[in-house]
Subunit: 409 residues, 2 copies
């Protein structure tokens, strides 16, 4: 097998989009308390106005605004107090000219009133008489019907990731349950004759399993349901059996290790041995992470990731994040980062998108990012890093002093 | 009761720190698979070297570097192939001068070898003879013992929030369980005679409960265990009973609503009615969110938050986030944001830290942030926002064109 050429990340994503354009992730109806960080599977319309009655935003007296015009401390207006509104109750009294009704913050305005004057600008002369020492305009200190949300208004849209405030909106319009996408299901398979679990004895020549842990946790943080996590030896039949089993109940299957083109690298052959399989990427123009395989098998995305923990995590972030967002209709989000100045030159190979791990420190006038390097396969390269910067495939590096955006990893 | 003055956020945090300096959150030992996003309760030392044997980073031949010096395509060096190393096995052959052993990527180097020459620079003449057409230096293509992690090295420190790669480090050193802080326990109590749940009928004068939802979900996302979530009427005895009950099993008690200084605002009196209670803040110099109460009751933090959903969420973010990080020894983190240009002037009141909600849109050369406004109590103010900017209490606003950092909400 000859050395593979690398596909750009953008091209790989386009190919995924083409092949999975008819992929349909199921949806489910859940209690809104269980919908945080999940993704809306349909637009949400409000069935009612919020608020559905006129509310006061202050403690004060509901009045007709025109009765207060010109009123001041030296020339008060005098109104008749005709009642009081209680919190959580309908306003049962209507008012007419020269009348006032006490309303607490959040209380309902009586019919006839069109404004509320704060209690601080009034003085109760007796139970039935109020002196008003200020003026209000129509609608002042009032939240009108539908001011927050109108009936039939689309309050949240399909593909939105639900934040606490979005769930607050659902609660405010009385929706106790919401239709969200099912969690994409994912199987994590790590291969390697040298890999042993954390509870086993580790002998010379053996190393401990890292990828099953890191990739499973990344998948969970991404909102996936992990259907399987396992380590298998580099044997064709064993890996084929795990892959076939995983395909039955997983939207995504990740195989880490064995994705390169050496004699012992069996991942591609195993993927191709399964029915309805199409490997459409072998080799990604990304550093680290070149030996990546991307395939569609039946209706699932199958990824062969490099065995090196750092490379596996980076490719997972670049490709699996993308796919999971794509199948849940999540719009491309603005990514939060840290704007920093680079402390030293970074060289990168043209033709590859480079993910460079960096540390970040606060300086007098901002942040300073410093690249960190490590030999192939060092997990501490990632644990020592604050985040990463992306160097475009058309650039040969970034210079000391240049501004870069550091993204969380 | 007179109108309260506002304490600065910094001052409120200092007071919390003073009063809770001897607060000790318990810890627990969990499987590392369940430790993601949790906080380390102790430093983690590696009990062994990673790797604990010398590994090759390439497919090639383990050699003595000096045997390859000067070798080239026109003048190869000739070595004796004396064996092969298998993945996951110890290297059982030692080599001496003029000998070579095949080693796969990740395989163990034999004793005597000090470098690996990539297979691409060699040619196997017969089973026992190798032509080497390039040179390697000592340690080239080799990961040495402890190169990633040294024995007794502190690999992770107390107060670190565990990311996937940190759990990868734990896995790599063979730690299947890890000591983390217990989740801070929190009770969420919403008060208000006008508040009804999502499953109830809503009448005139009543509004649906929002705060119990938003604050519970914020608490969960912050890594807290919610011990109770409930809505109670504005009655002294009812609220007192809920508070007392919550104090028995909660590090934090949140009461939203009734935190101002009106006649119906009973939160402060209820907090003060309980044993070992000290209200040390009433009034925060923050907008929105001024009517905030902060108290220590026995060994718990009790917060009275404004009833307005937006204010309640902002104060929660500013004060509860802080406390939860403080009691878990989390170092002040660098906050990720979006650098944006402001599309319009924003006025803010001096003497108050202003949290201004904004939307963000991508432009040709960056991002543009636009403030969004809403009347008091509108939940859509938050759901329409991408995030917020913070305007310092010493400033009177921010001007159009100024650079601001937008933080996620």
């Amino acid at each position: 097998m000859k050395m593979f050429e690398g596909s750009s990340v953008a091209n790989a994503r386009r190919k995924i989009m083409d092949r999975f354009s008819s992929f349909r992730l199921g949806s489910e109806l859940v209690e809104i308390y269980h919908s945080a960080d999940r993704v809306l599977a349909e637009d949400v319309l409000s069935k009612n106005n919020v608020p559905h009655f006129r509310r006061s935003t202050v403690d004060g007296y509901a009045v007709l605004a025109k009765d207060t015009y010109g009123a001041s401390e030296s020339l008060p207006a005098f109104l008749d107090i005709v009642g009081e509104v209680y919190m959580g109750k309908g306003a049962e009294i209507d008012i007419v000219e020269n009348q006032a009704v006490y309303v607490p913050t959040g209380g309902m305005l009586p019919e006839g009133a069109d404004a509320v004057i704060m209690v601080e600008y009034t003085e109760m002369l007796d139970k039935e008489s109020l002196a008003v020492m200020g003026s209000v305009t129509v609608k002042e200190n009032v939240v009108d019907i539908g001011d927050d949300i109108f009936e039939n208004e689309t309050v949240l849209t399909k593909g939105q990731v639900l934040r606490p405030q979005d769930i607050g909106v659902l609660a405010s319009v009385g929706l106790g349950r919401v239709k969200i996408y099912k969690k994409p299901s994912i199987a994590i398979i790590s291969t390697g004759d040298e890999i042993v679990g954390t509870n086993e004895e580790v002998n010379l020549g053996q190393i401990r399993d890292i990828n099953t842990y890191t990739l499973t946790i990344m998948a969970e943080q991404l909102g996936c349901a992990v259907t399987k996590k396992t380590v298998v030896r580099d044997e064709f039949e064993l890996l084929q059996k795990e892959l076939k089993g995983s395909l039955k109940n997983s939207d995504i299957v990740i195989i880490s290790g064995g994705s390169s083109v050496g004699i012992k690298d069996i991942t591609r052959a195993v993927i191709e041995s399964v029915d309805k399989s199409e490997v459409f990427i072998h080799g990604l123009a990304i550093k680290p992470g070149k030996p990546t395989i991307i395939a569609k098998v039946d209706n699932s995305l199958v990824l062969g990731l490099p065995g090196q923990p750092v490379s596996a995590m980076i490719v997972f972030k670049v490709m699996v994040d993308y796919f999971v967002k794509y199948i849940q209709s999540i719009e491309k989000e603005i990514e939060y980062g840290i704007e920093a100045e680079l402390s030293t030159n970074i060289h990168s190979a043209q033709g590859k998108e480079t993910y460079q791990m960096v540390t970040v420190e606060k300086t007098a006038d901002g942040y300073l990012a410093t690249p960190i390097y490590g030999k192939s396969g060092m997990i501490t390269l990632l644990s020592r890093a604050k985040g990463y910067i992306v160097i475009d495939m058309n650039k040969e590096g970034v210079l000391k002093g240049e501004k870069v955006t550091v993204y969380a990893f």
